[in-house]
Protein backbone atom coordinates (compact mmCIF):
# COMPACT_ATOMS: atom_id res chain seq x y z
CA UNK A 1 0.00 0.00 0.00
CA UNK A 2 2.75 2.40 1.02
CA UNK A 3 4.72 1.53 -2.09
CA UNK A 4 1.70 2.23 -4.28
CA UNK A 5 1.29 5.61 -2.64
CA UNK A 6 4.93 6.46 -3.24
CA UNK A 7 4.66 5.36 -6.86
CA UNK A 8 1.55 7.50 -7.33
CA UNK A 9 3.32 10.44 -5.70
CA UNK A 10 6.34 10.07 -8.00
CA UNK A 11 4.10 9.89 -11.07
CA UNK A 12 2.18 12.94 -9.88
CA UNK A 13 5.34 14.96 -9.27
CA UNK A 14 6.78 13.97 -12.64
CA UNK A 15 3.57 14.89 -14.46
CA UNK A 16 3.41 18.17 -12.57
CA UNK A 17 7.01 19.01 -13.43
CA UNK A 18 6.39 17.98 -17.04
CA UNK A 19 3.66 20.62 -17.27
CA UNK A 20 5.37 23.28 -15.16
CA UNK A 21 9.04 23.13 -16.19
CA UNK A 22 8.68 24.42 -19.77
CA UNK A 23 7.20 27.61 -18.30
CA UNK A 24 10.25 28.24 -16.15
CA UNK A 25 13.10 26.95 -18.28
CA UNK A 26 13.94 28.04 -21.79
CA UNK A 27 14.15 25.33 -24.48
CA UNK A 28 17.94 25.19 -24.21
CA UNK A 29 17.90 24.49 -20.49
CA UNK A 30 15.15 21.92 -21.04
CA UNK A 31 17.40 20.19 -23.53
CA UNK A 32 20.31 20.13 -21.09
CA UNK A 33 17.97 18.75 -18.42
CA UNK A 34 16.74 15.97 -20.72
CA UNK A 35 20.29 15.06 -21.74
CA UNK A 36 21.23 14.95 -18.06
CA UNK A 37 18.42 12.47 -17.44
CA UNK A 38 19.56 10.26 -20.31
CA UNK A 39 23.15 10.46 -19.08
CA UNK A 40 22.06 9.44 -15.59
CA UNK A 41 20.35 6.30 -16.98
CA UNK A 42 23.47 5.47 -19.01
CA UNK A 43 25.86 6.04 -16.11
CA UNK A 44 23.86 4.08 -13.54
CA UNK A 45 23.31 1.21 -15.98
CA UNK A 46 27.03 1.02 -16.72
CA UNK A 47 27.71 1.20 -13.00
CA UNK A 48 25.80 -2.08 -12.66
CA UNK A 49 28.37 -3.74 -14.94
CA UNK A 50 31.56 -1.83 -14.10
CA UNK A 51 30.96 -0.65 -10.58
CA UNK A 52 28.85 -3.39 -8.99
CA UNK A 53 30.27 -6.43 -10.76
CA UNK A 54 33.74 -5.17 -11.64
CA UNK A 55 33.43 -6.31 -15.26
CA UNK A 56 35.17 -3.74 -17.36
CA UNK A 57 32.88 -2.81 -20.25
CA UNK A 58 33.85 0.00 -22.62
CA UNK A 59 31.24 -0.51 -25.32
CA UNK A 60 28.20 1.01 -23.71
CA UNK A 61 27.52 3.26 -26.69
CA UNK A 62 26.94 0.09 -28.73
CA UNK A 63 24.07 -1.02 -26.50
CA UNK A 64 22.71 2.50 -26.52
CA UNK A 65 22.86 2.51 -30.32
CA UNK A 66 20.97 -0.77 -30.55
CA UNK A 67 18.25 0.56 -28.28
CA UNK A 68 18.10 3.88 -30.11
CA UNK A 69 17.90 2.41 -33.60
CA UNK A 70 15.67 -0.51 -32.55
CA UNK A 71 13.08 1.69 -30.89
CA UNK A 72 13.28 4.35 -33.61
CA UNK A 73 12.69 1.79 -36.36
CA UNK A 74 9.72 0.39 -34.44
CA UNK A 75 8.19 3.85 -34.07
CA UNK A 76 8.77 4.76 -37.69
CA UNK A 77 7.42 1.50 -39.10
CA UNK A 78 4.65 0.59 -36.66
CA UNK A 79 4.33 2.98 -33.73
CA UNK A 80 3.31 6.05 -35.72
CA UNK A 81 0.50 4.09 -37.36
CA UNK A 82 -0.73 2.93 -33.98
CA UNK A 83 -0.77 6.46 -32.64
CA UNK A 84 -2.85 7.61 -35.62
CA UNK A 85 -5.29 4.76 -35.12
CA UNK A 86 -5.57 5.43 -31.39
CA UNK A 87 -6.11 9.15 -31.92
CA UNK A 88 -8.73 8.41 -34.55
CA UNK A 89 -10.60 6.30 -32.04
CA UNK A 90 -10.63 9.21 -29.61
CA UNK A 91 -7.63 8.61 -27.32
CA UNK A 92 -5.88 11.80 -26.16
CA UNK A 93 -2.58 12.32 -28.07
CA UNK A 94 -0.44 12.27 -24.92
CA UNK A 95 -1.78 8.83 -23.93
CA UNK A 96 -1.48 7.40 -27.44
CA UNK A 97 2.07 8.69 -27.88
CA UNK A 98 3.05 7.58 -24.40
CA UNK A 99 1.80 4.06 -25.02
CA UNK A 100 3.60 3.81 -28.36
CA UNK A 101 6.78 5.24 -26.81
CA UNK A 102 6.66 2.76 -23.95
CA UNK A 103 6.44 -0.18 -26.36
CA UNK A 104 9.19 1.26 -28.57
CA UNK A 105 11.45 1.73 -25.56
CA UNK A 106 10.82 -1.78 -24.29
CA UNK A 107 11.63 -3.21 -27.71
CA UNK A 108 14.84 -1.16 -27.88
CA UNK A 109 15.74 -2.22 -24.35
CA UNK A 110 15.08 -5.91 -25.08
CA UNK A 111 17.18 -5.83 -28.25
CA UNK A 112 20.02 -4.23 -26.28
CA UNK A 113 19.57 -6.82 -23.52
CA UNK A 114 19.89 -9.65 -26.07
CA UNK A 115 23.09 -8.03 -27.34
CA UNK A 116 24.23 -7.70 -23.73
CA UNK A 117 23.64 -11.42 -23.25
CA UNK A 118 25.74 -12.23 -26.31
CA UNK A 119 28.54 -9.90 -25.18
CA UNK A 120 28.30 -11.15 -21.63
CA UNK A 121 28.97 -14.73 -22.74
CA UNK A 122 32.64 -14.25 -23.66
CA UNK A 123 33.13 -12.79 -20.18
CA UNK A 124 33.03 -16.43 -19.07
CA UNK A 125 36.44 -16.86 -20.64
CA UNK A 126 37.94 -13.39 -20.70
CA UNK A 127 39.01 -11.27 -17.83
CA UNK A 128 39.90 -7.66 -17.18
CA UNK A 129 41.43 -5.85 -20.07
CA UNK A 130 40.69 -8.55 -22.62
CA UNK A 131 37.01 -8.35 -21.85
CA UNK A 132 37.26 -4.56 -22.07
CA UNK A 133 38.64 -4.79 -25.57
CA UNK A 134 35.97 -7.22 -26.70
CA UNK A 135 33.26 -4.84 -25.51
CA UNK A 136 35.08 -1.99 -27.23
CA UNK A 137 35.21 -4.05 -30.43
CA UNK A 138 31.55 -4.91 -30.12
CA UNK A 139 30.62 -1.23 -29.85
CA UNK A 140 32.68 -0.38 -32.92
CA UNK A 141 31.22 -3.28 -34.92
CA UNK A 142 27.68 -2.10 -34.13
CA UNK A 143 28.56 1.39 -35.31
CA UNK A 144 30.14 0.16 -38.55
CA UNK A 145 27.12 -2.06 -39.25
CA UNK A 146 24.72 0.84 -38.68
CA UNK A 147 26.84 3.02 -40.96
CA UNK A 148 26.49 0.40 -43.70
CA UNK A 149 22.85 -0.66 -43.44
CA UNK A 150 20.74 1.44 -45.75
CA UNK A 151 17.42 0.58 -44.06
CA UNK A 152 18.43 2.54 -40.96
CA UNK A 153 19.76 5.51 -42.92
CA UNK A 154 23.40 4.34 -43.03
CA UNK A 155 25.86 7.24 -42.86
CA UNK A 156 23.13 9.76 -43.69
CA UNK A 157 21.50 9.29 -40.31
CA UNK A 158 17.91 8.45 -39.47
CA UNK A 159 15.59 11.50 -39.54
CA UNK A 160 11.90 11.93 -38.78
CA UNK A 161 11.68 9.95 -35.54
CA UNK A 162 8.57 11.13 -33.63
CA UNK A 163 9.66 13.30 -30.68
CA UNK A 164 7.51 11.61 -28.07
CA UNK A 165 9.95 11.56 -25.19
CA UNK A 166 9.14 14.41 -22.82
CA UNK A 167 10.30 15.21 -19.31
CA UNK A 168 7.80 12.79 -17.80
CA UNK A 169 9.15 9.76 -19.65
CA UNK A 170 12.81 10.57 -19.13
CA UNK A 171 12.16 11.30 -15.45
CA UNK A 172 10.16 8.10 -15.04
CA UNK A 173 12.95 5.96 -16.47
CA UNK A 174 15.54 7.74 -14.34
CA UNK A 175 13.47 6.84 -11.28
CA UNK A 176 13.00 3.24 -12.45
CA UNK A 177 16.73 2.90 -13.16
CA UNK A 178 17.77 4.28 -9.78
CA UNK A 179 15.20 2.19 -7.89
CA UNK A 180 16.21 -0.99 -9.74
CA UNK A 181 19.91 -0.32 -9.10
CA UNK A 182 19.32 0.46 -5.42
CA UNK A 183 17.13 -2.62 -4.95
CA UNK A 184 19.77 -4.79 -6.61
CA UNK A 185 22.49 -3.29 -4.44
CA UNK A 186 20.61 -4.18 -1.27
CA UNK A 187 19.57 -7.67 -2.33
CA UNK A 188 21.23 -11.07 -2.21
CA UNK A 189 21.95 -10.66 -5.91
CA UNK A 190 23.68 -7.35 -5.26
CA UNK A 191 25.87 -8.95 -2.60
CA UNK A 192 26.80 -11.64 -5.11
CA UNK A 193 27.75 -8.97 -7.67
CA UNK A 194 29.88 -7.11 -5.10
CA UNK A 195 31.53 -10.37 -4.12
CA UNK A 196 32.49 -11.02 -7.75
CA UNK A 197 33.91 -7.52 -7.99
CA UNK A 198 35.95 -7.84 -4.82
CA UNK A 199 37.33 -11.31 -5.49
CA UNK A 200 35.99 -13.53 -8.19
CA UNK A 201 37.78 -16.66 -7.05
CA UNK A 202 36.64 -16.27 -3.46
CA UNK A 203 33.07 -15.58 -4.60
CA UNK A 204 33.07 -18.74 -6.66
CA UNK A 205 34.48 -20.73 -3.77
CA UNK A 206 31.62 -19.49 -1.61
CA UNK A 207 29.10 -20.83 -4.06
CA UNK A 208 28.26 -17.71 -6.07
CA UNK A 209 27.34 -18.69 -9.64
CA UNK A 210 29.77 -16.13 -11.08
CA UNK A 211 28.94 -16.89 -14.71
CA UNK A 212 25.26 -16.36 -14.22
CA UNK A 213 25.70 -13.14 -12.27
CA UNK A 214 28.19 -11.63 -14.69
CA UNK A 215 25.88 -12.28 -17.63
CA UNK A 216 22.95 -11.00 -15.58
CA UNK A 217 24.77 -7.72 -14.90
CA UNK A 218 25.48 -7.34 -18.60
CA UNK A 219 21.85 -8.05 -19.53
CA UNK A 220 20.34 -5.60 -17.03
CA UNK A 221 22.95 -2.92 -17.74
CA UNK A 222 22.50 -3.14 -21.50
CA UNK A 223 18.70 -3.21 -21.19
CA UNK A 224 18.77 0.19 -19.53
CA UNK A 225 21.40 1.48 -21.95
CA UNK A 226 18.95 0.49 -24.70
CA UNK A 227 16.17 2.38 -22.92
CA UNK A 228 18.42 5.44 -22.67
CA UNK A 229 19.15 5.11 -26.39
CA UNK A 230 15.42 4.88 -27.15
CA UNK A 231 14.72 7.99 -25.09
CA UNK A 232 17.53 9.81 -26.88
CA UNK A 233 16.11 8.78 -30.27
CA UNK A 234 12.61 9.94 -29.38
CA UNK A 235 13.85 13.16 -27.88
CA UNK A 236 16.38 14.15 -30.51
CA UNK A 237 14.12 13.00 -33.41
CA UNK A 238 17.26 12.25 -35.40
CA UNK A 239 19.95 9.60 -35.09
CA UNK A 240 23.40 9.47 -36.59
CA UNK A 241 25.96 6.68 -36.17
CA UNK A 242 28.51 9.28 -35.09
CA UNK A 243 26.54 9.83 -31.89
CA UNK A 244 27.56 6.34 -30.82
CA UNK A 245 31.31 6.32 -31.29
CA UNK A 246 33.91 5.01 -28.90
CA UNK A 247 33.98 8.54 -27.44
CA UNK A 248 30.40 8.16 -26.22
CA UNK A 249 31.31 4.96 -24.35
CA UNK A 250 34.28 6.78 -22.87
CA UNK A 251 32.05 9.62 -21.69
CA UNK A 252 29.84 7.18 -19.82
CA UNK A 253 32.84 5.42 -18.24
CA UNK A 254 34.20 8.77 -17.16
CA UNK A 255 30.89 9.42 -15.40
CA UNK A 256 30.97 6.08 -13.60
CA UNK A 257 34.59 6.33 -12.50
CA UNK A 258 34.33 9.98 -11.57
CA UNK A 259 31.24 9.32 -9.49
CA UNK A 260 32.86 6.38 -7.76
CA UNK A 261 32.54 2.75 -8.77
CA UNK A 262 29.51 1.17 -7.19
CA UNK A 263 28.04 4.43 -5.95
CA UNK A 264 24.63 5.11 -7.48
CA UNK A 265 24.37 8.67 -6.22
CA UNK A 266 27.96 9.23 -7.36
CA UNK A 267 27.04 8.13 -10.89
CA UNK A 268 24.05 10.46 -10.86
CA UNK A 269 26.14 13.42 -9.71
CA UNK A 270 28.96 12.74 -12.16
CA UNK A 271 26.52 12.19 -15.04
CA UNK A 272 24.94 15.57 -14.38
CA UNK A 273 28.35 17.24 -13.87
CA UNK A 274 29.86 15.83 -17.07
CA UNK A 275 26.75 16.70 -19.09
CA UNK A 276 26.45 20.23 -17.75
CA UNK A 277 30.19 20.98 -17.76
CA UNK A 278 30.66 21.01 -21.57
CA UNK A 279 27.49 23.09 -21.89
CA UNK A 280 28.63 25.53 -19.22
CA UNK A 281 31.96 25.84 -21.01
CA UNK A 282 30.24 26.58 -24.30
CA UNK A 283 31.13 30.25 -24.03
CA UNK A 284 34.80 29.26 -24.04
CA UNK A 285 34.20 27.78 -27.52
CA UNK A 286 37.45 26.40 -28.88
CA UNK A 287 38.87 25.95 -25.42
CA UNK A 288 35.82 24.01 -24.26
CA UNK A 289 37.02 20.48 -24.87
CA UNK A 290 40.56 21.34 -23.77
CA UNK A 291 39.22 22.58 -20.42
CA UNK A 292 36.95 19.55 -20.17
CA UNK A 293 39.83 17.12 -20.65
CA UNK A 294 42.06 19.07 -18.26
CA UNK A 295 39.37 18.95 -15.59
CA UNK A 296 38.97 15.22 -16.13
CA UNK A 297 42.71 14.68 -15.61
CA UNK A 298 42.88 16.95 -12.57
CA UNK A 299 39.81 15.36 -10.99
CA UNK A 300 41.29 11.89 -11.45
CA UNK A 301 44.62 12.97 -9.97
CA UNK A 302 43.06 14.68 -6.96
CA UNK A 303 40.18 12.24 -6.38
CA UNK A 304 41.24 8.91 -7.88
CA UNK A 305 38.46 7.01 -6.09
CA UNK A 306 35.80 9.17 -7.71
CA UNK A 307 33.85 12.00 -6.17
CA UNK A 308 32.09 9.78 -3.65
CA UNK A 309 34.24 6.65 -3.62
CA UNK A 310 31.94 3.70 -3.15
CA UNK A 311 29.85 5.56 -0.58
CA UNK A 312 26.35 6.82 -1.24
CA UNK A 313 25.40 10.43 -0.80
CA UNK A 314 22.98 10.49 2.12
CA UNK A 315 21.02 13.71 2.38
CA UNK A 316 19.48 12.58 5.64
CA UNK A 317 22.91 12.58 7.26
CA UNK A 318 23.13 16.32 6.84
CA UNK A 319 20.06 16.83 8.96
CA UNK A 320 20.71 14.26 11.65
CA UNK A 321 22.63 15.70 14.58
CA UNK A 322 24.19 12.47 15.71
CA UNK A 323 24.68 9.22 13.98
CA UNK A 324 22.16 6.63 15.21
CA UNK A 325 24.93 4.18 16.11
CA UNK A 326 26.30 6.52 18.76
CA UNK A 327 22.91 7.45 20.16
Amino acid sequence: MRQLLIAALVLGVLLGLDVLLPHFLNPYLMRVLMLCGISVILAVSLNLINGFTGQFSIGHAGFMAIGAYGSAMFSLEIGMGWVKAMEASGAPPAVAEGAALLIALLIGGLLAAIAGYLVGLPSLRLRGDYLAIVTLGFGEIIRVIITNVDAVGAARGLPGIPAWANFFWVGLWVVIMVVVAARIAHSTHGRALFAIRDDEVAAEALGVDTTRYKVLAFVIGSFFAGIAGGLFAHYNAYLHPNSFTFLKSIEVIAMVVLGGLGSITGSILAAILLTVLPEALRSAQELRMVLYSLMLIILMITRPGGLLGSRELDLGRLFRRRSPERA
Binding site: I133, E140, V290, I297
Partner: protein
Protein backbone atom coordinates in the same frame (compact mmCIF):
# COMPACT_ATOMS: atom_id res chain seq x y z
CA UNK B 1 47.50 -13.96 -58.25
CA UNK B 2 49.34 -10.73 -59.00
CA UNK B 3 46.46 -8.79 -57.50
CA UNK B 4 46.72 -10.87 -54.35
CA UNK B 5 50.47 -10.27 -54.16
CA UNK B 6 49.87 -6.56 -54.59
CA UNK B 7 47.33 -6.60 -51.76
CA UNK B 8 49.78 -8.53 -49.64
CA UNK B 9 52.49 -5.89 -50.16
CA UNK B 10 50.04 -3.13 -49.23
CA UNK B 11 48.88 -5.14 -46.26
CA UNK B 12 52.38 -5.74 -44.92
CA UNK B 13 53.16 -2.03 -45.27
CA UNK B 14 50.04 -1.06 -43.34
CA UNK B 15 50.78 -3.82 -40.86
CA UNK B 16 54.26 -2.44 -40.18
CA UNK B 17 52.72 0.90 -39.25
CA UNK B 18 50.23 -0.76 -36.92
CA UNK B 19 53.08 -2.79 -35.46
CA UNK B 20 55.11 0.34 -34.69
CA UNK B 21 52.17 1.90 -32.83
CA UNK B 22 51.25 -1.40 -31.18
CA UNK B 23 54.78 -1.69 -29.75
CA UNK B 24 54.22 1.47 -27.70
CA UNK B 25 50.94 0.12 -26.33
CA UNK B 26 52.39 -3.24 -25.48
CA UNK B 27 55.52 -1.85 -23.79
CA UNK B 28 53.55 0.52 -21.60
CA UNK B 29 51.03 -2.18 -20.81
CA UNK B 30 53.78 -4.65 -20.00
CA UNK B 31 55.27 -2.29 -17.45
CA UNK B 32 52.29 -0.43 -15.99
CA UNK B 33 49.26 -2.60 -16.91
CA UNK B 34 47.88 0.66 -18.30
CA UNK B 35 46.06 0.99 -21.61
CA UNK B 36 47.64 4.22 -22.78
CA UNK B 37 44.73 5.62 -24.75
CA UNK B 38 46.72 8.74 -25.58
CA UNK B 39 49.18 6.71 -27.66
CA UNK B 40 47.23 7.12 -30.91
CA UNK B 41 47.34 10.86 -30.39
CA UNK B 42 51.10 10.79 -29.92
CA UNK B 43 51.18 9.20 -33.38
CA UNK B 44 49.14 12.16 -34.65
CA UNK B 45 51.57 14.57 -32.99
CA UNK B 46 54.43 12.74 -34.72
CA UNK B 47 52.92 13.52 -38.11
CA UNK B 48 52.44 17.18 -37.18
CA UNK B 49 55.94 17.53 -35.74
CA UNK B 50 57.21 16.02 -38.98
CA UNK B 51 55.19 18.54 -40.97
CA UNK B 52 56.63 21.51 -39.08
CA UNK B 53 60.14 20.08 -39.18
CA UNK B 54 59.86 19.61 -42.95
CA UNK B 55 58.66 23.18 -43.41
CA UNK B 56 61.41 24.50 -41.16
CA UNK B 57 64.11 22.52 -42.98
CA UNK B 58 62.68 23.35 -46.39
CA UNK B 59 62.71 19.62 -47.10
CA UNK B 60 60.05 19.99 -49.75
CA UNK B 61 61.96 22.30 -52.07
CA UNK B 62 65.11 20.18 -52.07
CA UNK B 63 64.01 16.62 -51.35
CA UNK B 64 66.95 14.51 -50.29
CA UNK B 65 67.37 11.52 -47.98
CA UNK B 66 69.33 13.48 -45.37
CA UNK B 67 66.60 16.05 -44.77
CA UNK B 68 63.93 13.32 -44.78
CA UNK B 69 65.90 11.50 -42.10
CA UNK B 70 66.23 14.74 -40.15
CA UNK B 71 62.45 15.23 -40.31
CA UNK B 72 61.94 11.72 -38.96
CA UNK B 73 64.43 12.21 -36.13
CA UNK B 74 63.04 15.61 -35.11
CA UNK B 75 59.51 14.20 -34.97
CA UNK B 76 60.72 11.25 -32.91
CA UNK B 77 62.61 13.50 -30.50
CA UNK B 78 59.62 15.82 -30.14
CA UNK B 79 57.24 12.97 -29.39
CA UNK B 80 59.71 11.35 -27.01
CA UNK B 81 59.65 14.59 -25.03
CA UNK B 82 55.86 14.72 -25.16
CA UNK B 83 55.71 11.12 -23.93
CA UNK B 84 58.00 12.00 -21.04
CA UNK B 85 55.88 15.00 -20.07
CA UNK B 86 52.63 13.01 -20.27
CA UNK B 87 54.05 10.28 -18.06
CA UNK B 88 55.47 12.64 -15.47
CA UNK B 89 52.57 15.11 -15.34
CA UNK B 90 49.53 12.87 -15.75
CA UNK B 91 50.27 9.18 -15.22
CA UNK B 92 52.77 9.27 -12.38
CA UNK B 93 50.36 10.95 -9.91
CA UNK B 94 47.73 8.24 -10.48
CA UNK B 95 50.11 5.28 -10.55
CA UNK B 96 49.20 4.19 -7.02
CA UNK B 97 45.47 4.68 -7.59
CA UNK B 98 43.13 2.12 -9.11
CA UNK B 99 43.79 1.03 -12.66
CA UNK B 100 40.48 2.54 -13.72
CA UNK B 101 41.52 5.96 -12.42
CA UNK B 102 44.70 5.65 -14.48
CA UNK B 103 42.64 4.64 -17.50
CA UNK B 104 40.33 7.64 -17.21
CA UNK B 105 43.41 9.85 -16.88
CA UNK B 106 44.76 8.32 -20.09
CA UNK B 107 41.46 9.09 -21.78
CA UNK B 108 41.67 12.65 -20.46
CA UNK B 109 45.17 13.02 -21.90
CA UNK B 110 43.93 11.63 -25.21
CA UNK B 111 41.10 14.17 -25.37
CA UNK B 112 43.52 16.90 -24.35
CA UNK B 113 45.95 16.09 -27.17
CA UNK B 114 43.16 15.86 -29.75
CA UNK B 115 41.45 19.07 -28.76
CA UNK B 116 44.67 20.87 -27.94
CA UNK B 117 45.89 19.78 -31.38
CA UNK B 118 42.73 21.14 -32.92
CA UNK B 119 43.35 24.43 -31.18
CA UNK B 120 47.02 24.69 -32.16
CA UNK B 121 47.07 23.07 -35.61
CA UNK B 122 43.53 24.01 -36.70
CA UNK B 123 40.65 21.64 -37.41
CA UNK B 124 41.07 21.53 -41.19
CA UNK B 125 43.37 18.87 -42.63
CA UNK B 126 46.95 19.85 -43.45
CA UNK B 127 48.99 18.38 -46.24
CA UNK B 128 52.28 16.75 -45.42
CA UNK B 129 54.97 17.96 -47.84
CA UNK B 130 56.38 15.51 -50.37
CA UNK B 131 59.76 15.15 -48.74
CA UNK B 132 60.38 12.06 -50.86
CA UNK B 133 58.82 12.17 -54.34
CA UNK B 134 56.89 8.99 -55.09
CA UNK B 135 58.12 6.56 -57.73
CA UNK B 136 56.81 3.10 -58.45
CA UNK B 137 59.09 0.15 -58.83
CA UNK B 138 57.79 -2.74 -60.92
CA UNK B 139 58.46 -6.13 -59.38
CA UNK B 140 57.30 -8.07 -62.44
CA UNK B 141 53.96 -9.79 -62.99
CA UNK B 142 52.08 -6.50 -62.65
CA UNK B 143 53.06 -6.11 -59.01
CA UNK B 144 54.49 -2.75 -58.02
CA UNK B 145 55.89 -1.31 -54.85
CA UNK B 146 56.39 2.40 -54.32
CA UNK B 147 59.61 3.76 -52.92
CA UNK B 148 57.54 5.18 -50.05
CA UNK B 149 56.28 1.71 -49.19
CA UNK B 150 59.86 0.49 -49.30
CA UNK B 151 60.86 3.26 -46.90
CA UNK B 152 57.98 2.41 -44.56
CA UNK B 153 59.04 -1.24 -44.57
CA UNK B 154 62.74 -0.47 -44.18
CA UNK B 155 62.43 2.13 -41.44
CA UNK B 156 59.92 0.15 -39.41
CA UNK B 157 61.92 -3.07 -39.63
CA UNK B 158 65.07 -1.17 -38.66
CA UNK B 159 63.32 0.40 -35.68
CA UNK B 160 61.96 -2.95 -34.57
CA UNK B 161 65.45 -4.45 -34.70
CA UNK B 162 66.84 -1.51 -32.70
CA UNK B 163 64.10 -1.96 -30.11
CA UNK B 164 64.76 -5.69 -29.89
CA UNK B 165 68.48 -5.10 -29.40
CA UNK B 166 67.79 -2.50 -26.72
CA UNK B 167 65.32 -4.68 -24.85
CA UNK B 168 67.41 -7.85 -25.01
CA UNK B 169 71.03 -6.72 -24.83
CA UNK B 170 71.35 -3.43 -22.96
CA UNK B 171 71.20 -2.56 -19.28
CA UNK B 172 68.14 -0.33 -19.85
CA UNK B 173 66.39 -3.17 -21.66
CA UNK B 174 67.23 -5.61 -18.93
CA UNK B 175 65.86 -3.15 -16.38
CA UNK B 176 62.69 -2.72 -18.45
CA UNK B 177 62.13 -6.45 -18.47
CA UNK B 178 62.77 -6.62 -14.74
CA UNK B 179 60.31 -3.82 -13.98
CA UNK B 180 57.66 -5.45 -16.15
CA UNK B 181 57.99 -8.61 -14.07
CA UNK B 182 57.77 -6.99 -10.66
CA UNK B 183 58.13 -3.34 -9.66
CA UNK B 184 59.07 -3.99 -6.03
CA UNK B 185 61.61 -6.69 -6.73
CA UNK B 186 63.17 -4.56 -9.47
CA UNK B 187 63.41 -1.61 -7.09
CA UNK B 188 65.14 -3.82 -4.54
CA UNK B 189 67.72 -4.79 -7.13
CA UNK B 190 68.64 -1.12 -7.39
CA UNK B 191 66.68 -0.33 -10.52
CA UNK B 192 65.16 3.14 -10.58
CA UNK B 193 61.62 2.10 -11.46
CA UNK B 194 60.42 5.66 -12.12
CA UNK B 195 63.22 6.26 -14.56
CA UNK B 196 62.59 3.00 -16.41
CA UNK B 197 58.89 3.76 -16.74
CA UNK B 198 59.74 7.17 -18.19
CA UNK B 199 62.21 5.59 -20.60
CA UNK B 200 59.52 3.14 -21.73
CA UNK B 201 57.14 5.99 -22.49
CA UNK B 202 59.86 7.83 -24.40
CA UNK B 203 60.66 4.74 -26.53
CA UNK B 204 57.00 4.02 -27.22
CA UNK B 205 56.27 7.62 -28.16
CA UNK B 206 59.28 7.74 -30.50
CA UNK B 207 58.05 4.65 -32.33
CA UNK B 208 54.58 6.18 -32.63
CA UNK B 209 56.12 9.38 -34.00
CA UNK B 210 58.03 7.37 -36.61
CA UNK B 211 54.78 5.66 -37.60
CA UNK B 212 53.10 9.08 -37.90
CA UNK B 213 55.78 10.44 -40.24
CA UNK B 214 55.86 7.23 -42.31
CA UNK B 215 52.10 7.20 -42.80
CA UNK B 216 52.12 10.89 -43.69
CA UNK B 217 54.65 10.15 -46.45
CA UNK B 218 52.23 7.85 -48.24
CA UNK B 219 48.98 9.43 -47.14
CA UNK B 220 49.72 13.15 -46.71
CA UNK B 221 46.38 14.39 -45.37
CA UNK B 222 46.85 14.90 -41.62
CA UNK B 223 44.42 16.28 -39.02
CA UNK B 224 44.16 16.33 -35.20
CA UNK B 225 41.75 13.38 -35.01
CA UNK B 226 43.75 11.11 -37.30
CA UNK B 227 45.18 9.15 -34.37
CA UNK B 228 41.95 7.79 -32.92
CA UNK B 229 41.20 4.93 -35.28
CA UNK B 230 44.79 3.79 -36.01
CA UNK B 231 45.40 4.02 -32.27
CA UNK B 232 42.46 1.75 -31.52
CA UNK B 233 43.44 -0.69 -34.24
CA UNK B 234 47.05 -0.77 -33.12
CA UNK B 235 45.89 -1.44 -29.61
CA UNK B 236 43.72 -4.26 -30.89
CA UNK B 237 46.79 -5.53 -32.74
CA UNK B 238 48.73 -5.53 -29.47
CA UNK B 239 45.97 -7.48 -27.75
CA UNK B 240 45.74 -9.84 -30.71
CA UNK B 241 49.40 -10.73 -30.40
CA UNK B 242 49.23 -11.02 -26.63
CA UNK B 243 49.51 -7.71 -24.82
CA UNK B 244 52.80 -7.04 -23.05
CA UNK B 245 54.56 -9.28 -25.56
CA UNK B 246 56.87 -7.41 -27.97
CA UNK B 247 57.06 -9.95 -30.84
CA UNK B 248 53.32 -10.42 -30.36
CA UNK B 249 52.69 -6.74 -31.10
CA UNK B 250 54.59 -7.00 -34.38
CA UNK B 251 52.76 -10.17 -35.37
CA UNK B 252 49.40 -8.69 -34.35
CA UNK B 253 50.12 -5.54 -36.37
CA UNK B 254 50.97 -7.54 -39.47
CA UNK B 255 47.89 -9.78 -39.16
CA UNK B 256 45.74 -6.72 -38.72
CA UNK B 257 47.21 -4.79 -41.66
CA UNK B 258 46.94 -7.73 -44.05
CA UNK B 259 43.39 -8.58 -42.94
CA UNK B 260 42.30 -4.99 -43.38
CA UNK B 261 43.75 -4.63 -46.87
CA UNK B 262 42.26 -7.96 -47.94
CA UNK B 263 38.81 -6.91 -46.70
CA UNK B 264 39.08 -3.63 -48.59
CA UNK B 265 40.22 -5.46 -51.73
CA UNK B 266 37.90 -8.43 -51.74
CA UNK B 267 34.88 -7.65 -49.55
CA UNK B 268 33.92 -4.01 -49.15
CA UNK B 269 35.92 -0.91 -48.22
CA UNK B 270 33.13 0.20 -45.90
CA UNK B 271 33.82 -2.71 -43.56
CA UNK B 272 37.54 -1.97 -43.18
CA UNK B 273 37.10 -0.62 -39.68
CA UNK B 274 34.99 -3.55 -38.51
CA UNK B 275 37.35 -6.35 -39.56
CA UNK B 276 39.87 -5.44 -36.90
CA UNK B 277 37.36 -6.00 -34.15
CA UNK B 278 35.74 -9.09 -35.66
CA UNK B 279 39.20 -10.64 -35.96
CA UNK B 280 39.93 -9.66 -32.38
CA UNK B 281 36.78 -11.24 -30.96
CA UNK B 282 37.32 -14.46 -32.95
CA UNK B 283 40.95 -14.81 -31.89
CA UNK B 284 40.27 -13.98 -28.25
CA UNK B 285 37.52 -16.58 -28.11
CA UNK B 286 39.96 -19.21 -29.35
CA UNK B 287 43.06 -17.96 -27.53
CA UNK B 288 41.95 -15.74 -24.65
CA UNK B 289 45.47 -14.39 -24.06
CA UNK B 290 46.27 -13.49 -27.67
CA UNK B 291 48.28 -15.37 -30.29
CA UNK B 292 51.64 -15.30 -28.52
CA UNK B 293 50.38 -14.50 -25.04
CA UNK B 294 50.93 -17.01 -22.29
CA UNK B 295 47.87 -18.23 -20.49
CA UNK B 296 48.67 -17.66 -16.84
CA UNK B 297 46.91 -19.69 -14.21
CA UNK B 298 45.31 -17.61 -11.51
CA UNK B 299 46.92 -18.13 -8.16
CA UNK B 300 45.01 -17.61 -4.99
Amino acid sequence: MSEFLQQLINGVTLGCVYALIALGYTMVYGILRLINFAHGDVYMLGAFFGLYAARWLGAQTHPNPASALAVLLIAMAGCGLVGLIIERAAYKPVRQSSRLAALITAIGVSLLLENGGRLVFGADPKFFPQIIPATNIALGGGVTISNQQLIILGVSIALMIVLRVIVLYTRVGKAMRAVSHNHTAAAMMGISVDRIISVTFVFGSMLAAAAGVLVALENPKIEPYMGILPGLKAFVAAVLGGIGNIPGAVLGGLVMGIAEVLVVGYVSPTYRDAIAFVLLIVILLVRPAGILGRQTAEKV
